[in-house]
């Protein structure tokens, strides 16, 4: 940028104002100032000033506003400033190009040195212009570098900056890892899945202050923390704490922050939002706030952060002050905070910082509020489902328009619903990862073509539920197009092999498995979704066309029992009002399918839809889409199958190894 600016200055020199010779220090200072003005003018939330300034030199101008502010900050009388503005040529050309800006700065310096405001003045050596610090973000950094002290100057900068960041709402929302004070506030319900929205409170402010440019720094910091919902950074994880699935994903590798050494102990201070978040996490592991988290539980939890074991053990050493192998709430918060810090690139301290000492934490934060709404639907028995649940809720709301899965119905079925959410969440991330074009963001999940997401989701859920003992409740009145009917075929496969009992592992890796009953609940609900959703976009599928597909479907799904299928098929044709199915389906979730064993075939064949002929082409398309979807679903299921087989093998091996160890240890103890 300096080169560009210099070139611009050089280029512009020839016309108008006399040649401007800048010393190196002046060049640097001026270009930075110019960048500030240009960038600030270019719209705050936009790309950082340097980017703006790097646009073709000739076209960059500094807007009058920031420039005027800057000039006023120089504390020169207004008349002098007018003169300067005139002299530098801005008045003439009508804007503050780089040349004009630099000349103006030089004139300011001249004026501050007591020289008359003349073009001739700038020909001699001048000190850098001085600008008084003002509240504006950019201008604080202006001025003679020599005058800026280190931290002292930056602290007020930090505070004002934080305030300003608090104000900049939409900018913050756009950014994944926003200024810490904002982000947790902005989205507490979704914060669990977006773990890195709890960055160190002052870390980013400090980063910004220490970085050259104001704007790029937060972006830089933000980028690595982008959390792809379906990203590959899945949990190494252990099964029990599934709620860390999304947590894992959010723990993507962060970049190194600069200049850590200049930070005070601020990075080790826990903000209120962070504290709340940690407390919520603690609660997920241990309902009683005054009790401990055992070592193994904590180990599993922290392992999901994807930090290396040595680092985790070191963090434990730091935070477990009483070395009892268990973490109290304060110790847990300290450990969590250290992990967050480490993930954000901070080096681990040699000793536990004073702000992280348990006594300090206990004194600083009174008894936490346990009634955070994050835990509304959390069940203690299924701590693993928390994060996915939040995500699910988000996802569900987005899906609402397509497949109205009412959260209320989910509220009805307690564990089932939670399990549903968790598995849906698992399924969804997998979908996301499968869909290459989909940006990895929870929002993107919402934006994805619903039919695709739903069909695969349903199938995965179906897979998971497949092994549940009681026959799956085929929805009594299920209308479905071909696609959904085929899905249901797969859904209701009571004899699904054991391999499908596992839960769809999150893309990167891990295997937490909800128990079969949960799986069933999930599958049922999701299958409902699919039916409804499919129905939505192909409303006039004729039963007549359905029937051939239906008959074909049984051959494809070899495992499903024919009777059930017939039952299924009988249902769709007869349903005029499809949306009502959802509540009904939910209601009949746990009912026996046998209730619906009416004359299936006859019912199926009966109703030729009046509009069949009109819709034939549409239906063909629908059929083809359905076929495609089913093929994809097949592939997914096959892959799932192989993965589960693999996991099964591994688990077997582990078991054998453990048994061997046990055998080996037995004689030893008989000393």
């Amino acid at each position: 940028m300096e080169a560009a600016a210099a070139a611009a200055a050089g280029g512009g020199c020839g016309s108008g104002p006399p040649p401007l010779l800048l010393s190196e220090g002046e060049q640097q200072c001026y270009s930075e100032l110019f960048a500030r003005c240009a960038g600030a003018a270019g719209g705050g939330p936009g790309p950082g000033p340097p980017e703006a300034a790097r646009v073709a030199p000739g076209t960059v101008t500094a807007a009058a506003g920031p420039v005027a502010d800057l000039f006023r900050a120089s504390q020169l009388p207004a008349e002098t400033l007018h003169q300067i503005t005139e002299l530098c040529g801005a008045k003439r050309v009508g804007y503050f190009g780089p040349t004009q800006f630099y000349i103006a700065l030089k004139l300011i310096a001249a004026a501050q040195s007591g020289l008359p405001v003349r073009i001739e003045s700038i020909k001699c050596e001048l000190p850098l212009p001085r600008f008084m610090m003002s509240k504006n973000d950019g201008e604080i950094r202006f001025g003679n570098p020599a005058e800026l002290h280190g931290t002292k100057v930056q602290i007020p900068y930090l505070t004002t900056e934080k305030n300003s960041f608090k104000r900049m709402d939409d900018e913050d929302k756009q950014q994944e890892t926003q200024s810490p004070t904002m982000s947790p506030l902005a989205s507490p319900p979704s914060s669990p899945p977006h773990y890195q929205r709890v960055p160190l409170s002052h870390g980013y402010s400090k980063l910004r202050s220490s970085a050259e440019q104001m704007h790029p720094a937060p972006y830089e910091a933000r980028q690595p923390l982008v959390q792809p919902e379906g990203s590959s950074s899945g949990g190494p994880g252990t099964k029990p704490l599934r709620h860390q699935t999304s947590l894992i994903r959010s723990f993507s590798v962060e970049r190194e922050l600069q200049d850590n050494s200049s930070y005070l102990d601020e990075p080790w201070r826990i903000t209120e939002e962070q504290r709340e978040y940690y407390v919520n996490q603690f609660r997920s592991l241990q309902p009683d706030p005054s009790s401990f988290i055992s070592g193994s539980v904590a180990k599993n939890f922290f392992t999901k952060s994807k930090l290396s074991i040595p680092e985790l053990s070191y963090i434990w050493e730091l935070s477990d002050a009483d070395c009892d192998g268990a973490l109290t709430l304060s110790e847990f918060c300290a450990a969590f905070h250290l992990i967050v810090a480490r993930k954000n690139g901070y080096p681990l301290p040699e000793g536990l910082p004073p702000t992280l000492q348990p006594e300090y934490l206990q004194a600083a934060f009174p008894k936490p509020k346990w009634d955070c709404q994050l835990f509304d639907s959390y069940s203690e028995s299924l701590p693993a489902n928390q994060q996915p649940r939040d995500l699910n809720r988000m996802e569900k709301t987005s899906v609402k328009d397509t497949a109205d899965l009412p959260v209320s119905t989910q509220d009805v079925t307690g564990d089932d619903k939670q399990a549903l959410k968790s598995t849906v969440n698992e399924a969804l991330p997998k979908d996301v990862s499968e869909d290459p074009a989909t940006p990895k963001d929870s929002n993107s999940l919402k934006a994805r073509p619903r039919s695709r997401s739903y069909s695969s989701t349903s199938i995965e859920e179906a897979m998971k539920r497949g092994e549940d003992p009681p026959t799956p409740p085929p929805r009594p009145q299920k209308t479905h197009s071909r696609a959904s009917s085929l899905d249901l075929n797969k859904v209701f496969q009571p004899s699904v092999p054991a391999t499908k009992s596992g839960l769809l592992p999150p893309p990167p890796a891990l295997p937490p498995r909800p128990c079969p009953s949960q799986i069933w609940a999930i599958m049922n609900s999701v299958a409902v979704n699919i039916c409804i959703q499919v129905v939505e976009w192909s409303e006039q599928v004729s039963e007549a066309e359905l029937l051939p597909q239906l008959s074909r479907a049984p051959s494809q799904a070899a495992e499903s029992s024919p009777s059930k299928k017939d039952v299924l098929y009988s249902q769709p044709p007869s349903k005029p009002i499809r949306r009502k199915f959802r509540p009904e389906n939910q209601a009949t979730e746990n009912q026996e399918p046998s209730t619906v064993a009416s004359g299936p075939a006859s019912a199926a064949t009966v109703k030729p839809h009046p509009t069949v002929q009109k819709q034939s082409s549409k239906q063909k398309k629908a059929i083809q889409t359905a076929i495609r979807k089913n093929k994809e679903a097949n592939a997914v299921l096959a892959r799932l199958n192989s993965e589960l087989q693999q996991q099964l093998k591994e688990v077997h091996q582990e078991r054998i190894a453990l048994e061997n160890q046990l055998e080996q240890l037995r004689p030893v103890t008989v000393l």
Binding site: S296, I309, P310, S313, Y314, E317, D320, C323, D324, G325
Partner: protein, 136 residues
């Protein structure tokens, strides 16, 4: 089981191999003492094995935990200031630090408590350092 050192440290880093050797050979003496005690009661006294054997230059002390983890301390013979009580207290500190390391859920029993895993057992290492310096 295998007798490999979980942790070994010596102050003058020369002669380190000699100390390794001494410690290793002293393990036999430790085993001897353990078996001699038979099914002894768990007691601090029994944990401390006392002087294992003296050489012309060194004295070797032993200590064994309930889980059969052995601590061996080699002290220079010329250091007459060290008394039995002090040795006992040093062993006690070692034992405490070791249990602190064990409390760390990320520590797998049988892992080395030093070197490659720099982050683990730092407190243990610091404690040992604090003990060794006054002795030297």
């Amino acid at each position: 089981g295998a007798n490999y050192p979980l942790y070994i440290r010596s102050t003058p880093t020369e002669n380190e191999l000699k100390f390794h050797y001494m410690v290793h050979t002293s393990l036999d003496v430790v085993d001897e003492k353990i078996s001699a005690m038979g099914k002894a009661l768990v007691d601090q006294r029994e944990l401390y094995l006392g002087l294992l054997y003296p050489t012309e230059d060194y004295k070797v002390y032993g200590y064994v935990t309930n889980s059969k983890v052995k601590f061996v301390m080699v002290v220079d013979s010329s250091n007459t200031a060290l008394r039995d009580n002090e040795i006992r207290s040093m062993f006690r500190k070692l034992h405490n630090s070791y249990t602190d390391v064990m409390c760390n859920p990320f520590y797998n029993p049988g892992d080395r408590i030093q070197s490659r895993f720099v982050c683990l057992g730092r407190a243990f290492d610091n404690m040992v350092t604090s003990m060794m310096i006054p002795v030297c």
